[in-house]
């Protein structure tokens, strides 16, 4: 089976994807598409991207055989250590690729949306490195919750714009970034943070983060002499998942599992599981699965993980779900936090809460896979990010925070 020719030239993954955007953006999207096609076959661009990935971002990331976690869940668990990349997540791959594209297109300014701030920090990082002006849109609710990431972005030279309309969260930050872009396309590249949005973003982001999967596949073949039985990743917008899935899509023996944020449980309505708990719709430029009401108004999503707290999903995941090539299941906040704690205690690794969803899901599929294979399965889990940013959330969740407010330096000065 050869790699599927997806998306088509207009950006459709089956019935999903495409471009549902104001006409004003079409030329910019066409220019981006053309620039990307050219960059794909430009040895100089590819060499520069590869150099930054290795010498700046610290990839290839390790493939780590987690012995104690494996023993705890009854399977061989391999962790793709994207948490060890510069800036602490897989996202650095995407921002470096897109910032290089912006340079190539001669655009001196990049804009980005961010939820908890991870993509904003990554964008600000790439912009500093490549001398680009950077403006980050962030929901006002999030700028308050994530003050440290706001400070990080500002240290890196970015301008952070709190978005006060709508629900004042990630989806509204995305709307505001699109509004900026409509007015600034001549000078500005929209550095979209996940494998979603209008064509060609889902394809570009997938390809820039695709090293996760090609590296892991190679590392499995070299280290184990075989492919894993399953690949597991968390899915919000879906960039880390598509990044690790893509190289394995043609490998029919490798099962692909995407774990969505189940929040309080899909049945409660308080979740961010767009595929398992949403329906087909159009949001932020593409047809995909969306959390929406009966009138097609977007619903607010809920997850303990800010990075998964988004009411849509990348169109390629919608298509992989439709075709049955990948399976998508929700993981609740409670399941994710149990897995978070398990990884901390068994391996000495504090994962991002996003990635903890993938760990919880991987543990869940072990019995069925064991029964099916007649042996303990080998599961490759994308440890997409580190948990430093989540220490406050997790500390509060587990009730292990002392009253730290009184000892913050300078607070009483």
């Amino acid at each position: 089976m050869s790699a599927p020719a997806m998306p088509d030239l207009a950006g459709h993954f089956g019935r999903f994807g495409g471009r549902f955007v104001p006409e004003a953006l079409v030329r910019a999207l066409d220019e981006l598409d053309a620039a990307y096609r050219a960059a794909k076959v430009d040895p100089e661009f590819q060499a520069r991207f590869a150099d930054l990935l290795v010498n700046y971002a610290g990839t290839p990331s390790l493939l780590y055989r987690a012995e104690r976690l494996s023993a705890a869940v009854g399977a061989e668990i391999l962790l793709k250590r994207e948490d060890l990349n510069h800036t602490g997540a897989h996202k650095v791959r995407n921002v470096l690729g897109q910032a290089l594209l912006a340079k190539k297109m001669g655009k001196p300014r990049v804009i980005a949306e961010t939820g908890a701030g991870q993509h904003g920090v990554a964008s600000a990082t790439a912009a500093a490195l490549l001398d680009l002006e950077c403006v980050v849109y962030m929901g006002a609710v999030d700028t308050e919750r994530q003050a440290l990431n706001v400070a990080r972005m500002r240290m890196l030279g970015a301008t952070v714009v709190p978005v006060t309309n709508g629900s004042r969260t990630l989806k509204d930050a995305l709307n505001e970034a699109l509004r900026d872009w409509v007015a600034s396309v001549d000078t500005t590249h929209y550095l979209l943070g996940t494998a979603a949005g209008p064509h060609p973003f889902p394809e570009i982001v997938r390809d820039f983060v695709g090293g996760i999967g090609t590296e892991a596949r190679e590392q499995c073949l070299t280290g184990l002499g075989r492919l894993p039985d399953a690949v597991a990743a968390c899915v919000g917008g879906g960039s880390n998942a598509i990044g690790i899935f893509h190289a394995f899509v043609p490998d029919e023996t490798v099962r692909l599992y995407g774990f969505e944020a189940g929040g309080d449980g899909v049945a409660t309505g308080r979740h961010a599981a767009s595929i398992t708990g949403g329906s087909t719709g159009v949001l932020h430029g593409a047809r995909t699965f969306v959390l929406q009401d009966d009138d097609g108004q977007t619903l607010e999503s809920h997850s303990i993980s800010a990075g998964l707290d988004y009411p849509g999903v990348g169109p390629e995941h919608a298509w992989l779900h439709d075709t049955g090539r990948a399976a998508y299941e929700p993981v609740t906040d409670a399941e994710a936090m149990a897995a978070f704690q398990l990884l901390c205690r068994t391996e000495g690794i504090i994962p991002a809460i996003e990635s903890a969803h993938a760990l919880a899901g991987a543990a869940r599929i072990v019995p069925a896979l064991t029964a099916e294979l007649g042996r303990a399965p080998t599961i490759l889990v994308n440890l997409s990010g580190r948990g430093d940013k989540d220490v406050h959330t997790a500390g509060a969740y587990f009730g292990i925070l002392d009253d730290v407010e009184t000892i913050v330096p300078g607070e009483n000065a």
Partner: protein, 266 residues
């Protein structure tokens, strides 16, 4: 009256058409009907009803705020159809402006049928480009609804030709690169864009929107376009008023001023 009739009549009178926009259900269903009737009585030739949507990426702060107020008050898609029926019933020409997802959720064919039954003659789709509009084009043909797509200063000549070819009634030319909202001056890109549309199809009426807020600007646009589309400035009359009576008074005054403007009398 169809949109074509409205533009034909205005052309015969040597003036431009005034299109006034108001979100359905803002601030309530009944109040929005009253606003739209007041606009029609005071000189708006076409009432553009905007279906409130949670994620209006083409709209600036005024329409966002009005849409949020309408949604928070519980307006539903079926209310928008009811509002259209109430306004069209007074003889005003009504078009709907809507983002695409609510229509897809309703069912494209069913919506076109119900929109036609409510008395709207056209529909403007700010985030649906003809490239993705196969189902809508078929449904609009079936129920004889004029479909208006947008062209932008950034559109290539090829895209303008393709888009105008898919429009019926009129084409919406966005005067500037940006979102809706009144500006202090009319964009210099607008006359050029209108000329580019006319080069493709001299008979297709061109409405210009984005940034027009007063009679002088309406006159300026009317000098080179077939229609002047005003939204945020009208909505602001209601948004900024201390009470509904003041809102309606301001709405009527601005509509009348704009109507003078499209007649070249700023």
């Amino acid at each position: 009256m169809t949109i074509g009739d409205v533009f034909g009549k205005a052309k015969a009178e040597g003036r431009a058409v005034l299109v006034g926009c108001m979100p359905a259900g803002f601030p309530t269903v009944d109040a929005s009907i009253a606003s739209m009737r007041a606009m029609a009585e005071s000189g708006c030739d076409v009432i553009e009803v905007e279906l409130p949507y949670s994620d209006p990426v083409m709209d600036g702060p005024v329409i966002q705020k009005a849409s949020d107020i309408a949604l928070a008050a519980g307006v539903r898609t079926r209310d928008t159809l009811r509002i259209i029926e109430a306004v069209a019933g007074t003889g005003a020409a009504v078009v709907l402006m809507t983002y695409w997802n609510p229509i897809e959720k309703y069912g494209v064919d069913a919506f076109a049928r119900d929109l036609a039954a409510a008395g709207a003659t056209g529909m403007i789709t700010p985030d649906l480009i003809p490239d993705e509009a196969g189902e809508w084009i078929a449904a609009a043909d079936r129920y004889r609804i004029d479909r208006t797509f947008l062209v932008s200063p950034s559109s290539t000549d090829e895209r303008i030709a393709m888009t105008v070819g898919q429009c019926r009634g009129f084409v919406y030319a966005t005067a500037l690169m940006g979102v809706t909202g009144a500006r202090t001056s009319v964009s210099q890109a607008a006359p050029d864009l209108v000329a580019r549309v006319r080069a493709v199809d001299p008979d297709m009426p061109v409405g210009v929107g984005l940034g027009v807020g007063n009679g002088a600007q309406a006159a300026e646009v009317a000098a080179f376009a077939d229609g002047v589309i005003v939204g945020s400035a009208l909505i602001r009359c209601v948004l900024d008023a201390n009470d509904p009576a003041e809102g309606e008074r301001r709405l009527r005054a601005l509509s009348a001023e704009l109507a003078e403007g499209v007649r070249g009398r700023p």
